[in-house]
Subunit: 198 residues, 2 copies
Amino acid sequence: MTAEAAQGYDVRSARPKRADARRNYERLLAEARTAFTEHGTDVALEDIARRAGVGIGTLYRHFPNRTALIGAVFYGELDALLARSRELARAPQPCRALIDWLRAVIDHAGTYRGLSRAFLCAAAEGSAELTRCSEPIHRAGSALLTRAQQAGSVRADVEIADLMQLTNAIALAVEQSPGDPGLADRLLTLTFTGLKAR
Amino acid sequence: MTAEAAQGYDVRSARPKRADARRNYERLLAEARTAFTEHGTDVALEDIARRAGVGIGTLYRHFPNRTALIGAVFYGELDALLARSRELARAPQPCRALIDWLRAVIDHAGTYRGLSRAFLCAAAEGSAELTRCSEPIHRAGSALLTRAQQAGSVRADVEIADLMQLTNAIALAVEQSPGDPGLADRLLTLTFTGLKAR
DNA sequence: ACCTGAACACCGTTCAAGT
DNA sequence: ACCTGAACACCGTTCAAGT
C-alpha cells in the first residue's frame, strides 16, 4: 500500500475520505514533519494543529496519539530508505553494502530527535503505526544480510531482528551524543569487527 | 566520597545538614528507590514525597529535578556493581570476565524501567548527578578491558567509552523488549564476535 | 461525516508563609 | 535553615455543540 492510498482512504471504514478531511490529514502530516525536524518528537501537538490551521480535536481524530503521528510521518519517508537498500543490493561488496545501509538507517533515525526512542518504545507497546514501518525495513535489511552471508563475509548465525535492535540502540546512543559526530561509525565498526582479537 | 558523606553534608555549603533535613533526604531516597523499582523512573514525584511523609517542596529542595533524584538513587547502588568488577578482575578468563561484567551493568540498568534512558540522555545534558555515577563505572570497565586486551583476547583498538555507550544502548534495547529474555545475551555475543565471518 | 475549542485531568515546579 | 502545600503553568485528551 502506498502512502497516497493511506491518505486517501479512511483506515477503519476503508472508504474514501471526504475532501476536507483528506486535506487536513495532509496538512497535519506536513506540519508534523517540519515540527519534528525543528523541535523533535516531543513538540506540543497543539502547535502542530495550530500551524496546520485546524483544531486540536481534528488532530486527534486523524491520529489517536503521538506515536500514531510519528509513525505516519516516518512511514511517508520510508521510500528513500528502501530505495537506498535496493541500490546497495547491487553494490560490489555485500558486506560493505550492509554496513552502509545500517549507517543510512541510523542517519535517518537522527533526522528527528526522539524518533529512535519512539521506535524502540513502540516495539514494546506493539504500536500498529510503527510496526508497519519496521516490517519493510526488516525485509530490506534481511536481503542485504543474506547476501553478505552468502558471500561468506558475514557470520551465518546472525539474525536480522537482533541486528536491527542493535542498530536502533546505536541510533539512540548517537542521538544522545550530539557532540561526537564519529560515534556512529565507531560503534558500527565495533559491531562489525567485534571485541574479539583475531 | 562515600554515600553516607553525601547524605550527611549539604552539597553546596559543605556543612553538616540539620538532623530533620538529613532524615527527610534519606526517606525520599528510600521511597524513590522503591517507587522507581515498582513503577519506573517516570513515576509522579508527588507520590514519592507523599510516601516519604514530606511536602513536594521538600523533595525539590533536596533534588532540584528528576534526573538528580535518579542519579542519587543510582549512586547509592553503585557499590554492588563495583564490587562485582573487583571480583571479576581476578577471574581466570579476562575476556569472559569483561563480558560478564557488561552483562551485570545491563542487568543493573534493568532494575528500574527508564534508568538506562535517563542515563543516555544525561550524557547529553551533562547532568552532574549521573556523571559522578558513570565515572567509577568507566574506571571499573577500563580495568577489565585493559586486562582482556593485555591477555590478547580483545582487540587493542577498542576504547572503553565506546564500549560503555554500546552497552548502555543494549541495556535500553533490552528494557524495551521485555518479552525477549535472551536478547541481552545475544546482543552481547554479537558485540563480542562481531558480524564479520572468520 | 467531520471540525471546533472549551473544559477537564494531570503533573512538574515555584514561592510566600510558617516553624 | 528547613518545611509546607496552595498556586501557577503547561500539556495531553475528550466531548458537546456546530457545520
